[in-house]
């Protein structure tokens, strides 16, 4: 027999003014199953909670209804009080007679009548409540970091230095990401490689970090604390254990005319190559698409010259499987492809800037390689077409960004700063040259950022022109940049034409190719541009909606280096927090399958956003398959109940919001 206690709170005057609390208590005392009903000024106060605890013990209550504020406010308080008195906390429910009643209704008779009904609803529900117990999930203390750019490196190092194991997966042959390509970094102009490469070395040497380069995440299953991750190690054609990184193979490789990805096509590399001199690991891979041996069967020079016999043409992709407790996604960005356009995303190329047919129209990363001491020109700013130092360089901002009509509506954020830096570096190297910058706005919000832009203008003499460029065309060996200066009036309407030797386009920052497929593997969301979605834009910026998966860096949205590093450290802190205990505790509001009734239609599987429905085979004693039925993985289930409403054989129920409970609640409104 149910023995329910009802506790009506006055909340001082908040409820008591419009709801006749003694009357509600008197009515509730007459409801079937209610053995105790009282009202009190402040139920959440110590004496109020004491009344509940005493009643649980003295009246041997099997359930408690507290009629007070919203359960979103004080449900944990009252459930804790019940637990302290020895009653399972999930046998306590709240009737919301403040936010949903006394505060929104004026007439005392109506409000009191409604409060009585709301209490009856919860009495009917709590009679059907069952004791529930927090779900305990074991935690595998090993993190996976996807992406070895600066964000991934920072997250991996922070987790590893916190004493936990990390598996770092990078798809390129070396870690380092875009930061390794940069010349100098704003706003301090310190050399990018000088600050990055020590961290790359630290990653490789760290006893807590397992590094897989030239590798990709193949599949992910499981849930927070218990992911199973399969990693594809792409065939390097080089035995990484034997290879000493001497570099003889690349020196002797006859195929030397392959545009280098690292140098953004401005330099050449061989078919067997390490992307750059400071690569980590400093072990080459063979680019099979360009290798003569793989294309024609003839050659084999690298194998002949390798002193340790590390070159292995027969090598195949292999797989490693790792048990993982938490995942940090740090796949970074790429630049918008202004040459070819991105028709798949509905973005045309920039025809007015020549669709990339002019060799001397380059993008920001290409300029970085020109300015870098390790770049194809050794750090000299030279035109790609004829190798001459450009006398006039035009920088154009917002190419693809902030362009609702034919580009992307968002601001790529880093361009204002790097273009100021480019103009500065150019002036430092070509003293007599002129740098023009076409801009829409200057967005330099950041520590020492505005000062930096001002330095480019005031000290280094970059000429900033507020306006857009409408067209670039050639005249002789010059690029004619035609645009508008919107700060100039007059008869010409502000039209300007600049005879330039080189043009640098600040193209939009985009998430990496393949981000959608990765997001689907991980069951995490992404926005219309492919940037991964955080759990809350302000208060949970490093978490995703899938528990145990975190975000770091530009995969989540455009970011500069300090922001990416900050978010990476934030993600690492979340991972370390998760790994601080051996078990996770979760609220036991999860779905449950009545397997004897399940018909195995698996509609539930289709509506579950968390992949929490598993298929279980039922066999008889002889081992014959009798049925395939659904099973809920309580670790993955978040308790939304979509499966319950979808189940056509009524075989799934949701603990805490069961069929019986909800129908009884509706019945309470008779």
């Amino acid at each position: 027999m149910a023995r329910i206690g009802v506790f009506i709170c006055w909340c001082g005057e908040n409820i008591g003014r419009t709801v006749d609390c003694p009357k509600v208590a008197a009515e509730a005392g007459g409801f079937p199953g209610v053995v105790h009903a009282v009202d009190y000024k402040y139920m959440c106060s110590d004496p109020g909670q004491g009344m509940i605890k005493d009643a649980i013990k003295e009246k041997k209550l099997t359930g408690v209804v507290v009629a007070a504020c919203s359960p979103r406010m004080h449900e944990p308080t009252f459930r804790r009080a019940c637990a302290e008195a020895g009653l399972n906390p999930f046998l306590c429910e709240m009737a919301n007679i403040r936010e949903h009643c006394s505060w929104v209704h004026e007439e005392k008779g109506d409000a009191t009548a409604k409060a009585v009904q709301l209490v009856r609803v919860m009495v009917e529900k709590v009679k059907r409540n069952e004791a529930l117990f927090p779900i305990k999930v074991p935690v595998t203390k090993r993190a996976l970091v996807i992406g070895g750019g600066i964000a991934g490196i920072q997250a991996a190092l922070d987790i590893a230095n916190g004493g936990q194991k990390v598996v770092l997966v990078e798809k390129e042959p070396s870690i380092g990401g875009h930061m390794a390509q940069l010349s100098e970094t704003f706003p301090t102009l310190d050399c990018s490689q000088c600050i990055l490469t020590p961290r790359m070395v630290e990653v490789a040497a760290h006893p807590n970090i397992t590094l897989h380069t030239y590798a990709e995440v193949e599949s992910v299953s499981g849930f927070i604390g218990n992911f199973d991750v399969k990693i594809r190690l792409k065939a390097r054609s080089v035995d990484i254990k034997k290879c000493t990184g001497c570099g003889l193979c690349a020196q002797k490789c006859p195929q030397k005319k392959i545009p280098s990805e690292f140098d953004e096509g401005l330099g050449m590399r061989t078919a067997i190559y390490t992307p750059f001199a400071q690569a980590v690991p400093n072990k080459p891979v063979i680019d099979r698409a360009h290798c003569t041996k793989f294309l024609t069967g003839k050659c084999g020079v690298c194998q002949k010259v390798c002193p340790v016999g590390a070159v292995d043409y027969a090598q195949e992709d292999t797989f490693v499987e790792e048990k993982i407790g938490a995942i940090v996604v740090a796949t970074g960005y790429r630049l918008y492809d202004f040459r070819n356009g991105e028709k798949d995303y509905g973005i045309e190329g920039y025809g007015e800037y020549g669709y990339g047919q002019y060799k001397d129209v380059i993008d920001g990363l290409q300029f970085e390689r020109l300015a870098s001491a390790s770049g194809p020109t050794g750090g000299a700013i030279l035109r790609p077409s004829d190798g001459k130092a450009p006398e006039t360089v035009v920088f154009i901002k917002c190419v693809g960004s902030r362009d609702c009509a034919k580009g992307l509506s968002y601001c790529s954020k880093i361009c204002c700063m790097y273009i100021a830096k480019h103009a500065m570096l150019y002036k430092h190297k070509v003293h007599h040259g002129t740098a023009y910058v076409f801009y829409m706005d200057i967005r330099a919000g950041g520590k020492n950022y505005d000062e930096f832009v001002r330095r480019a203008i005031e000290e280094d003499g970059a000429v900033y022109i507020r306006g857009r460029v409408s067209r670039i065309y050639t005249r002789g060996d010059k690029l004619i940049v035609a645009g508008a200066d919107t700060l100039l009036g007059g008869a010409a309407g502000g039209r300007v034409e600049i005879e330039a030797d080189m043009v640098v386009l600040a193209t939009a920052m985009r998430p990496q190719y393949g981000i959608e497929a990765l997001a689907q593997k991980l069951s995490i969301g992404y926005d219309e541009y492919g940037f991964l979605t955080e759990a809350h834009p302000k208060l949970r910026p490093v978490e995703t909606n899938t528990a145990g998966i975190f975000l770091a860096g530009a995969c989540q949205g455009v970011k500069d280096i300090p922001e990416a590093v900050g978010q990476a450290s934030g993600a690492a802190a979340k991972v370390l927090g998760l790994f601080s205990s051996d078990q996770l505790e979760r609220e036991p509001i999860v779905a449950r399958v009545n397997q004897s009734q399940c018909v195995g239609c698996f509609y539930c599987e289709q509506v579950c956003p968390y992949h929490a429905i598993e298929r279980e085979e039922k066999r008889d004693k002889a081992g014959n398959l009798i049925a395939r039925v659904a099973k809920v993985n309580a670790g993955l289930c978040q308790g939304c109940g979509a499966c319950v409403a979808t189940c056509r054989s009524n075989s799934i129920d949701l603990d805490g919001f069961s069929e019986e409970q909800v129908f009884s609640e509706i019945g309470g409104l008779r």
Binding site: S70, P71, R72, M73, N96, R98, E99, H100, C101, W103, V104, H105, E106, E107, D110, A111, A113, K114, Q117, L118, V121, G525, N545, I589, V607, P609, Y610, Q638, G639, C640, G641, A642, V644, A645, T646, L654, F657, V662, F663, E665, I666, G667, L669, R670
Partner: protein, 145 residues
């Protein structure tokens, strides 16, 4: 038993998701926005949890209208529950209509946790609408028959 619509006070049962509309109704309360006392809310995890049977049960228990309200499209706490709910109601309303139940008695809306005012206005509006429709008696006739 005939009641004139002037003095008729309808009973409206609302099924609300915990994360958006229930919280929006809480906000209406903390903002002290007044609305008619005809509505009774039942809190559920998600609109995706709500079954057509809940609505029929509500009518059976004498509701003059039912309201289902959850997160705006794209805002579901559980990613997609509100989409499942929307599809379900599109079909279910047709079935109700076919069965002779006035679809104006089955209401659907999106109210976010920030839309306390929208909630109070919605309740006032639908209470007036249902009051004009008059009491829902056809279900009683079916139950008795």
């Amino acid at each position: 038993m005939e009641t004139t619509t002037a003095e008729f006070e309808p009973k409206i049962i609302a099924f609300l998701c915990n994360w958006c509309t229930y919280a929006g109704a809480d906000l209406a309360g903390t903002s002290r926005l007044k609305y008619p006392a005809n509505i009774r809310a039942i809190r559920l995890t998600c609109t995706g949890r709500i079954e057509p049977m809940f609505l029929l049960k509500a009518f059976q228990e004498g509701a003059d209208a039912v309201l289902v309200s959850g997160c705006h499209p794209g805002d579901c706490h559980y990613t997609s529950g509100n989409y499942h709910a929307r599809r379900r109601w599109t079909v279910f309303r047709k079935l109700l209509e076919f069965s002779g139940i006035d679809p104006r008695r089955v209401l659907f809306s999106w109210v976010s946790a920030a839309e306390g005012r929208k909630w109070s206005e919605l309740v006032a509006e639908i209470t007036a609408q249902v009051r004009a429709l008059g009491p829902f008696t056809s279900f009683e006739r079916i139950v008795k028959a």
